[in-house]
């Protein structure tokens, strides 16, 4: 592994147990902060709208990002297209707190991700499995989130990805030294990183889940499966009562082991976002930039 962004990994640890919410206006950002979000993701369209409207999705207008920065005191994240080093330089110049190199935007580079070791600002990247997570970490990601399938309100892919990572970590334990070496080669990741995660049985950076979380119960399920926190995209501001839904998801993320509390938290929230079947999707964002 080359250079780590240790301070960025530290910040990721401060986000643990929290909910990071997508917001498209300063007003939404304040609602998210009031509801107890541990950070906000500033963007122009939530994934559900990107999916519905189509077209190339790019980094947000710096004007919007600044408005959101001015509105809240919690960390502000924003997205760049996969491999778009210049968008990342712009976000770093805006002094946001974390960059999400995200498959929700249209990828910009067919070969490479951003070389994150060249930045002081930390990056979070999506992953669908262990190899993908380790590739991003060896490129310098300070935090990982599972990709899930953004904008669907359907939690199945988020569950798939967090479970796959766990299963693959466990499978490393049974591998011989030769098998470990060929796994590292086939996944194009450093062998010492593979050995390290085999030993610790976890990724070396904080791991959140994302993609399809629409209810407090979804968030609690994923925490129970080992997530260290939750990104919620469309699930909050596409629901009937965003403030109530946001508060409920924050509380469910804390009290995920307490079914009675969860029952109370889930009561009377009004409609969650409408969801989509994965089989019927035109675009699968999770397949971008693996």
């Amino acid at each position: 592994m080359k250079k780590r962004n240790v301070l960025g990994e530290d910040l990721a640890k401060m986000l643990k147990g929290g909910v990071i919410m997508d917001v498209v206006t300063a007003k939404q950002a304040r609602i998210a902060e009031d509801a107890g979000a541990c950070a906000v993701m500033a963007l122009e369209r939530v994934p559900a709208d990107i999916r519905a409207q189509g077209g190339v999705a790019r980094m947000s207008d710096p004007k919007l990002i600044r408005e959101i920065q001015n509105a809240v005191s919690i960390p502000v994240m924003a997205k760049v297209r996969i491999g778009h080093t210049t968008e990342a330089r712009i976000l770093e110049a805006l002094e946001i707190d974390f960059i999400d190199e995200s498959e929700v935007l249209t990828p910009a580079d067919p070969f490479d991700h951003v070389d994150k070791t060249q930045f002081k600002i930390p990056f979070v990247c999506g992953a669908t499995n262990l190899g993908e997570a380790l590739r991003r970490i060896s490129e310098g990601a300070a935090m990982i989130r599972t990709k899930g399938e953004a904008g669907t309100g359907n939690v199945i892919e988020a569950v798939r990805h967090i479970k796959l990572i766990k299963k693959e970590l466990s499978a490393l334990k049974k591998m011989t030294p030769g098998q470990l070496k060929s796994y590292a080669e086939s996944q194009r990741v450093p062998l010492d990183l593979v050995k390290r995660v085999r030993e610790s049985q976890r990724l070396p950076v904080v791991t959140f889940v994302a993609g399809g979380v629409a209810t407090p119960a979804d968030a609690a399920l994923l925490m129970d499966l080992g997530a260290e926190g939750v990104f919620v995209g469309s699930g909050i501001f596409k629901s009937r009562n965003p403030l109530q839904m946001a508060k409920a998801i924050v509380q469910a993320t804390v009290h995920y082991r307490d079914p009675r509390k969860l029952a109370e938290i889930s009561t009377g929230l009004g409609e969650a976002m409408a969801g989509l079947e994965i089989d019927r999707l035109d675009v699968r964002m999770q397949g971008r930039g693996i």
Binding site: L7, G8, K16, G17, G36, F98, K120, I121
Partner: protein, 188 residues
């Protein structure tokens, strides 16, 4: 003795890791009932607005204040924890705090994550400097009567103590050092 770690949000598992290294019994505190079983409490780093709102919804805010007033709880707050202990907080969208320590603190005093840094701190009573990180850190801008300053950085207090309360604006739990936790464990 059991040391509770407030486990609402933030890096509470790192504090539990340090307590485990020191072979001290640690317990996660999420409800007022959990608080009953602990004699000491660590309030970890995290987002102070998030933790403040959860202190309210869980009923822990009142429970912690009442234990502290009775003098039956020793508390250590780091970063967000220090903010939550302070009587006065400045900055944007200030959360309601526990107000147990007579000091004024400014949230995100250094700016964004790009201004986060690592520092070697000389701490009163400790021989060697300790490596710690300041992550979107607050700054103590005023300390009240009888608040003892145990460490400073760039002319500002960063570790302070009064009676049963210890507060630091940095993270002593992230680089493996155990000295400050040991200092806290000795506090009566």
């Amino acid at each position: 003795m059991t040391v509770g770690v407030l486990a609402l949000q933030g890096d509470y598992s790192e504090h539990i890791g340090i307590l485990n290294t020191l072979k001290v019994k640690a317990a996660e505190v999420r409800t007022p009932a959990d608080l009953k079983h602990v004699q000491k409490l660590i309030i970890p780093g995290g987002e102070s607005t998030t933790i403040a709102s959860l202190l309210e919804t869980t009923g822990l805010r009142k429970a912690i204040i009442s234990r502290a007033r009775k003098g039956t709880l020793t508390i250590f707050g780091t970063c967000a924890g220090a903010i939550l202990l302070a009587r006065k907080v400045s900055g944007k969208n200030v959360p309601p705090t526990l107000g147990l320590l007579n000091m004024k603190i400014e949230r995100n005093a250094f700016g964004s994550q790009l201004q986060s840094f690592e520092a070697h701190l000389n701490i009163k009573g400790l021989q060697d400097p300790m490596v710690v990180s300041f992550i979107r850190a607050p700054r103590i801008t005023k300390t009240g009567w009888r608040v003892e300053v145990l460490a400073s950085h760039d002319g500002y207090p960063v570790l302070v103590r009064k009676g049963k309360i210890l507060a630091g604006t940095f993270h002593p739990e992230l680089r493996g050092g155990t000295e400050i936790h040991r200092l806290f464990l000795k506090m009566k």
